[in-house]
Symmetry: C2
Subunit: 200 residues, 2 copies
């Protein structure tokens, strides 16, 4: 069975293949890079779950194959839970990790340690071309570092320190990150849902 | 009686003099431009009221005169009430009105009209050198425009449309703006509090 991963972000494709293989999902996973004609979908949802479902449905319709999608981001206490669904375009330019992270650090420059709480959120969705859908969420609690550290991961990983850790998520090994990450948790929870959807 | 306005923002000094004179306050108002040695205070409060009080107390202590201060900003529904207390440094650089406004427009570019609600908030505080204090708030509800319009006002005025208006606050005359604005409401409410403080 072939399933489409509704993303062109190569970091995400690598991470999701690794997580789903680790969770024992035995399907042929194709990234959107193999479907250059599928148009980009505007992510206009007010929540991560809405956006993940919008993307999964759009790709399932366009390809005629079951699709899985995620929408993830960082929520910062001192910003009332933002950047949230705007994480990937916080600086106003989509997908510019460094600009997004630098802006978040500049905005929270005066925020003291006791108010630097933050959490990573991932909504993982699956959709069939006929419209059937599932969506689940995973969360990783932590706090904002003052400066980027580490070369791993992507997005806000270099400035996020998980609860109980001293390293940022960019300083964890891929296996360490997958074990605790919002995306690891969400996609492991999605696997049984996806199986039910593929068999249903 | 001399009272210090705890701001170096010349737009704000002009606006506050106008509002306070209109409310019949008969004191000698000096801007911080007359006190070049008063150090800037970091605005680390989590609320507008906290920041207004921090500034009023710092200036009253430094000058030995009663001081009034405000902290104001724009709160956007789709950003969970942010930029909020970070309004003046939303782009990461303090006081760059155009950069702040452009970033807010870029972040909310995909937010549809029905979710573009926003409100201006102003906390106005007064403090005596001995530590006595008062603080009040004023609010103006409205929505975010898609593009800047108008040459008046400052800050986010060119992209804020008050409820019941079709013009932005930057397209209103100063008198029209003062009559409804968050800052007009807050400082008119502060006048009796300030009188009590000066007499007490």
């Amino acid at each position: 069975m072939r399933v489409v991963l509704a993303t062109r972000n190569r970091h995400k494709i690598v991470e999701l293949r690794r997580i789903l293989a680790g969770a024992g999902l035995d399907v042929d996973l194709a990234g959107l890079d193999v479907f250059p004609d599928v148009p980009d979908v505007p992510e206009t949802g007010a929540t991560f779950a809405e956006n993940a479902l919008i993307k999964a449905h759009a790709v399932a319709r366009a390809t005629g194959l079951p699709a899985i999608a995620d929408d993830s981001g960082i929520a910062v206490d001192a910003l009332n839970g933002m950047p949230g669904v705007l994480s990937a375009r916080w600086s106003g330019r989509h997908g510019e990790d460094r600009a997004n992270l630098d802006l978040l650090l500049a905005q929270t420059g005066d925020v003291p340690d006791e108010r630097r709480g933050a959490w990573f959120v991932c909504a993982a969705a699956a959709a069939r071309p006929d419209g059937a859908e599932r969506v689940v969420e995973g969360v990783l609690a932590g706090s904002l570092a003052h400066k980027p550290r580490g070369e791993g991961g992507f997005g806000y990983d270099p400035i996020f320190v998980p609860e109980g850790e001293s390293r940022t998520t960019a300083e964890l090994s891929p296996a360490e990150k997958d074990a605790i990450s919002h995306r690891g948790r969400a996609f492991r929870a999605l696997v049984p849902e996806l199986r039910a959807l593929l068999e249903g």
